[in-house]
């Protein structure tokens, strides 16, 4: 009973290039433009980024170095070899390098302000929004590092890095710098390896492993990724108004009368609107995310989570489509869906953060934004992209489904009875 409705709507849509342009072309163009504009802003005009990085040292590198030298002195090996080890180790001190050669370099200094914070203030620092990243150095890090580098111990020393979700671009910059540092370090350590090679000491590649943990557990992301999600959840809303407008035109052109005369129950018609919108929304999202994966490398770490959010978002869009249809029929004009697409979508998208992370403006906007179907799904999508599990976003998934069901029920109630239909 419902499948002819769905098939018909697909045929009508593919014959209507204008609608296709709005539903697929526009969002893709915007993802491209915004992704490039803000992506290049990150790479070239870095002067606009000013990040503060907090450095929390639990131990003391000089102490660690002394301990290491002491250890070496007590080792049963020739003196020259001991001297060479100590000399190499001195050049390899990781924290000193990080402070002076990396964050202290004149290339990086303009962007990043390096602040040493005492360990006692770590928690407070984690709560504050001032820093783009916090680098936490555990006690005896350098000692462990040197041992590992020189003697291949099996304890891998780890740096903990906290990223600030709110300062995504700056945090991304810090992350890139650290990765770069990691790579260069292993190259740099190669001569040292050659120096001790005669003594058959294996030097492992650098193993400083930045343990990614963040203030609210978020990984930073690129502008393309952000806007892929932002634009997709925005433009999926247009499916609702497209379907509702079309449904109203069915009434105007008296096609709806024919549908009634064919004894199609009202609830079947409403279900067909719901399902058509849902399926169209799903296809639209899959195409947009597919293109983004292809062209902008927006990859989903977990397909189940991705599909759960997508389906629940489509559910909400189906509900919206029915609501707008019911209101159009009730008011006997297309104005409701026109108003939705011309005004409401923009407001929802602003609140939901499709244009920029508007939740940062105020807590109020963040809460209201998360109540919008697009905002709720955007938050969930971004979390999944940052490596969260489905369990972290399951609340949003249920919320979107409930949103769809509740407005579906309201719409059935709003939809005019037979007597008021002409």
């Amino acid at each position: 009973m419902i499948s002819p409705f769905i098939k018909k709507q697909f045929l009508l849509l593919i014959r209507n290039p204008q609608e296709l342009l709005l539903l697929l072309g526009m969002p893709f163009i915007l993802i491209t433009i915004l992704g490039f504009a803000l992506g290049s802003f990150m790479n070239n005009e870095g002067t606009n980024i000013h990040a503060k990085v907090a450095f929390v040292e639990h131990g003391n590198e000089q102490e660690d170095f002394k301990t290491f030298v002491n250890d070496v002195k007590n080792m049963p090996m020739p003196v020259e070899q001991k001297e060479m080890l100590v000399k190499t180790a001195e050049k390899m001190l990781p924290i000193t390098m990080l402070k002076n050669d990396v964050f202290g370099s004149k290339e990086i200094q303009p962007y990043i302000e390096f602040v040493t914070v005492p360990p006692s203030e770590l928690d407070e620092t984690r709560q504050s929004d001032r820093y783009a990243a916090i680098i936490e150095v555990p006690e005896h890090f350098s000692y462990a590092f040197l041992n590992n580098a020189m003697f291949g111990g099996n304890v891998q020393p780890k740096l903990s890095i906290y990223m600030n979700e709110g300062k995504q671009m700056a945090a991304k910059l810090v992350e890139d710098i650290l990765i770069e540092f990691q790579e260069q370090y292993s190259i740099f350590s190669a001569p040292g390896k050659a120096g001790v090679a005669s003594n058959s000491l294996e030097l492992p590649a650098i193993n400083v492993k930045g343990e990614m943990e963040t203030v609210t557990k978020k990984k930073p992301m690129t502008a393309s990724t952000y806007y892929t999600v932002g634009m997709s959840v925005m433009f999926v809303l247009y499916i609702a108004s497209y379907i509702a407008s079309y449904a109203f035109r069915e009434k105007q052109s008296h096609v709806f009368q024919r549908i009634l005369l064919a004894n199609v129950p009202k609830r079947a018609y409403i279900s067909s609107i719901f399902l058509t919108a849902m399926i169209l929304a799903f296809v639209q999202l899959i195409i947009l995310y597919g293109l983004a994966a292809l062209f902008y490398d927006v990859k989903w770490p977990n397909m189940t989570s991705f599909l759960s959010i997508t389906v629940s978002l489509c559910f909400a869009v189906g509900g919206l489509a029915v609501l707008l249809t019911a209101l159009n029929y009730r008011m006997n004009s297309e104005n409701v869906s026109i108003f939705f697409s011309s005004t409401i979508v923009s407001i929802l998208s602003f609140l939901g953060g499709s244009f920029f992370p508007s939740g940062q403006i105020s807590e109020f906007i963040r809460i209201v934004g998360d109540l919008t179907p697009n905002g709720a799904s955007m938050t969930a999508y971004l979390k999944i992209l940052q490596g969260y599990e489905l369990s972290a976003v399951i609340g949003s998934v249920w919320y979107l489904c409930a949103f769809g069901v509740v407005i579906l029920i309201c719409s059935i109630w709003i939809f005019p009875k037979r007597g008021d239909l002409s």
Partner: protein
């Protein structure tokens, strides 16, 4: 049998239909005639269960259809006054969609579509989008969609408005054929007298929400049987001749339009000799004299004092 009993429809201040009663017997073609705004479409919408009447009843086989419209809908085809089609779909796709919502499928649907395309003469154009159709073709498909589920009753609301004479004739012939070959009962709405005269066995004439007269063509025309209509053409318009016509006691009405003089007079009197005498007296040369049988148009004029179409 399908019957409307004292149907009334009140739209806010305006009474669109006022106590209209009519019935359809199996196998008939019944005409519903009336000028714009008479309430024809509203009456049809009530009969076809699309809107509920403010008062009155619609009965199908002696059961009210207002609460339970399904039985009637299953055997009813409605051709709306508007082109109720998807213009971005082809003729065939439209028929497929509407056929499926009438729960036709598979081979049955396929054969029905072929038959309908044949009936409305669109087999060659079935794959063209409706938006590329001419007005007449759209009208034909509009009818075709209503025939898909082989209805026993078909209600057509002005199915020939705004189309060329060929398409119009085609449609009229189609309606006649459906009635004769498929034994379909037809309620045909129009404001064209000649269509209704051509097609219908019985006629209802509607004006301002009321059914003002009903019956067979002959019965209705007999309303005017007591008077003759005579049309006269003269060589040169002559005031004194017209004056004389007006003053003659046996002539009941005189109208002059574009040099054509129309007079009404009781049947019994020998009007022609009177006419020739008056012409002779006023030195008027008559170029033609025609005694006309009354049309439904004349009946409408007689009953309402207004022409059917402006």
């Amino acid at each position: 049998m399908l019957e409307a009993v004292e149907l009334t429809k009140q739209f806010k201040q305006h009474k669109a239909v006022n106590k209209a009663s009519l019935f359809l017997e199996r196998g008939e073609i019944v005409g519903l005639l009336g000028p714009n705004g008479a309430g024809k479409s509203t009456t049809i919408a009530m009969i076809s269960t699309l809107i509920p009447p403010t008062s009155g009843d619609v009965r199908f086989n002696n059961e009210s259809v207002i609460k339970h419209p399904h039985k009637l809908r299953n055997v009813l085809g409605v051709v709306p006054q508007e082109i109720a089609l998807y213009s971005d779909l082809s003729a065939k796709e439209n028929l497929q969609f509407f056929g499926k919502i009438y729960r036709l499928s598979g081979m049955e649907l396929k054969t029905r579509i072929e038959e309908v395309l044949e009936i409305v003469g669109l087999t060659d154009r079935q794959n063209d989008l409706v938006k590329h159709f001419s007005g007449g073709m759209k009208r034909r498909l509009n009818i075709g969609v209503a025939l898909l589920h082989e209805p026993k009753f078909i209600i057509m609301d002005e199915p020939t408005v705004g189309i060329d004479p060929q398409s119009r004739n085609y449609i009229l012939e189609t309606v006649k054929r459906l009635n004769e070959e498929k034994k379909m009962t037809v309620l045909y709405t129009s404001h064209y007298m000649e269509e209704v005269e051509f097609l219908c066995d019985r006629i209802y004439i509607m004006d301002q929400g009321h059914i003002i007269v009903s019956g067979t063509k002959e019965e209705i025309k007999n309303i005017l049987s007591s008077e003759d209509t005579i049309q006269i053409k003269v060589e040169r318009a002559n005031e004194s001749f017209i004056q004389a016509l007006h003053q003659n006691p046996i002539i009941s009405r005189v109208t002059v339009q574009d040099g054509l003089i129309t007079i009404l007079a009781p049947k019994e009197v020998n009007l022609l000799s009177t006419l020739f005498k008056l012409a002779d007296e006023t030195k008027t040369v008559l170029t033609s004299v025609e005694i006309k049988t009354p049309t439904l148009e004349d009946v409408f004029l007689h009953l309402t004092g207004r022409a059917l179409r402006d």
